[in-house]
Every structure is written in structure tokens, then in C-alpha cells.
Amino acid sequence: MSTYLRQLAAIVRKDLVLEFRSKDRLVAMGAFAVLAAVLFNFSLDNASVRPRDVLAGLVWMTLVFGGLLGVGRTFHLEAEDDAFRGLMTSPAPKDAVYLAKVVVNFVLVYGLSVLALGVFSLFLAVDVGANLPGTLLVLALGALGFVALSTLFAAVSTGTTMGETLLPVLVFPLLLPMVVFGAGATGRLIAGRPFAEVAGNVRVLGAFAVAAVAAGAVLFRFVVEE
């Protein structure tokens, strides 16, 4: 195993262990998904809105808002006892640090979005079983693109005096492609349309995720420089 992968794996393992021991973000994000579903249910007028038509949009909004809630705290984990400086003065390349954070955040946000899909399906009584693998793939690509951008900008906002308050202003304008293509594809798959119909969306989502990860890996070093 190359040193690079060993360093990346060490950070991923460390963060996952910390996450599962403290459960802070797991519980907060999980609760967010369920509670958002409850509130959304009561904010919709069932007489005029068919849940089936809005489910995809709600799942994606939950991914974005709940995801930002969790990803915004990525670097707080490192702040206690100045641990981040220890990481930054170690030989681990900055892009390995970034990619490790992306992997961990992806696990959290993807988990959140799958949970949201399940909970919304249950609460709003919509069957999402048609094309489930396709739906999960679309959510995965969306979660990856989202996490790539929001992890980079979480590092930015953590370094400002405004903290997480700044994060939505920086990230939301950039997320439009992901929401448009992601929610569009999810909606059609849930409606039972064939996967081939959304293949174009999936390609754009994939390209978006790849571009976001690449940009983050290159630019992260400039954000964490002291």
C-alpha cells in the first residue's frame, strides 16, 4: 500500500471511529432527516399536492440542508486540542486530508439521503421501489458532488469570523446543477420511468462530482494554509 493511501486511510478510519464513538453528527443528521419529513408532511396540503410528485424534491432539499448541517462541522472535530495543526504539520499531503474528509462526509451525507428517501416514502406513503438501484446511484452521485463542494467551503467558512453562517451563501449558488439534474432524475425514476431516460442526467451529475472533487483536491491546500 502506498504511503499516500495509508495516510488517506488513516484519516478516514480515525474520523469514522470518532464519529461512531461520539455519534454527534450521526444523531443530529439522522434526526434532521426524520423531523424534516414530519414537518414537510404537515406543510403540504394533501388535497392539492400529490406527495408522489414532490417527494424527489423534498429528499434533495433534505440532503442539501441536513448535509450542510453535518458537513459544516467537519473541521470542528479537529479544532479541539489544536489537532488540525498536528495533521497539517504531518507529512500527509493536503489533498489526502481533503479526500479523506470527503470520503467521511460522503458516508454521512449519503446515509442521510438514503434515510430521507426511506422516511419520506414511509410517511408520505409513496412507493419508491421502482428503479431503486437507479435512484440510489443518482443520490450517490449527488451526495458526492455536494460533499466535494461543501467540504471545501466548510474549511473556508471555519476560517472566517462568520463560521458556518457563511456556508449556505457560498455553497447554495454552486449546487443548482446538482439539484436540477439530481431531483429531476430522482423524480422520474420514482415515477417508474426507465433508467435510460435519465442517463443524460446521471452523466452530468457524474461530471459535476468529478469536477468538484478535482477542484477541491487542488484548492484545499490554499484554504488551510496558515
Partner: protein, 235 residues
Amino acid sequence: MALEARDLVREYGSVVAVDGIDLKLAPGEALTVFGPNGAGKSTLLGMLGGAMHPTRGTVSIGGVAIDPSVTSWRHRVGILSHRGFLYARLTAAENLRFYADLFGLDDPEARVAQGLGRVGLTDRARTEARHLSHGMKQRLSLARALLHDPEIVLLDEPYTGLDPSAAAVLRNVLGELKDGARTVVVVTHNLREGLAMATRVAIQLRGRFVWEGAANDLDAVAFERHYHETIEVAA
């Protein structure tokens, strides 16, 4: 030269924290930098360890100017701050294992066991860092800083808040570092401990070295008087 700094300057906006410091240290030398709070000591140490980028000037290790964006030279530097760089929810052994992986050390398990033994924490290997006493945490972060056997050791206020047992361990381990091959820089305002480990001494005020000298021909009492006069004049 093992460690060399040339005209090192660091500005934060309009504040100048380090204002043109030069230093040259050979292997086996140990420099202690004294100075009051706000003299820019931690900033100096941050730049020597590559945690901070200098606004101007260069730091060289073994005659090669370091580039903070390159990682290869970081194996040669160990940093101990009064903040421990530890993760509270990882055990003592896991904390060290994490650093062993970051530094790409061979046989990490053995290195971790050796590191714990060195600071007397072998029986606490499986205790989460948050359940360790303050002194034990300090010993653990000392083990972390020296895990990769660095030739350049940078210590930022190492004695701050230490209990007597931890201070004794620290003194022991720092004594082991006097093997002639290592270069040590300590910044502190603790005069007694600072002088004990130094071969050279400097006083830093407002980002500059205002006094430098060898430690072995230094009269501790006279130096103490000189130091207090210097910082009082400055205040």
C-alpha cells in the same frame, strides 16, 4: 547547519508578529527563546516547523530551503505545543497509531508500544485520551511529537501546566535528546526550565531577537535580572 532561518518575517495584516529573525543551529545545539506573551515566539516556532508560511524570508533544514507545500521534509521535524494535538475520543495507542500512519512509519505497532513505554503510559494504551489526567495527556503528546524520531524538535511552552510527574518525564526525555545529533528549539517564559536544556539562549521582544548568547557561560541569576529589566523597559 541543521536548522537555519534567514530574515524571517511574518505579518498578520498590519501586525508584524516576527520582524526579521536570523538563526543558525548546528546538530546538537539547543536554543531556548525567552520572551513575554505577544513577542511572536509561537509564530517563530510555527514558521520553523512549517505550520505557518513566512511573509518573507526562508527556513532551511540541512541546508535546503523548506517549502511548506511540500511534505517530504516534515519527517525530520517534531513539534510539541502546549496544545496536545490529541483526539479526545481515541485511545492513547490509537492516537499514536494515527500519527505512525501519517508519518508512514515501518512496523507501526512496535513504534506505538515503544512510544508509550518511553513516557510511561504502557498500561494506559487502551484508555481514551479524554479519560487521561492532564499530565498523562502531556506525556502522550510528547510521545506523539517524538514518535518518528525527528532530528529537529520544536517545543512551544512545554512546561506550561505540567504536573511534577509529567515535568520529570519531559526532563528525562529531553535529556535523551542531547545525543549530539538533534537540534532543539524551545520557546518559553519559564526561565529555570528553559535555561536547563539550552546550549544557546535568546530573548525575543516585539518580533525580534534583542539579546543572544551561549548558555554554558551564563550566570542564571544575572541573566534573570537582565531578562526582567529588558522586558520591563519594553513595557
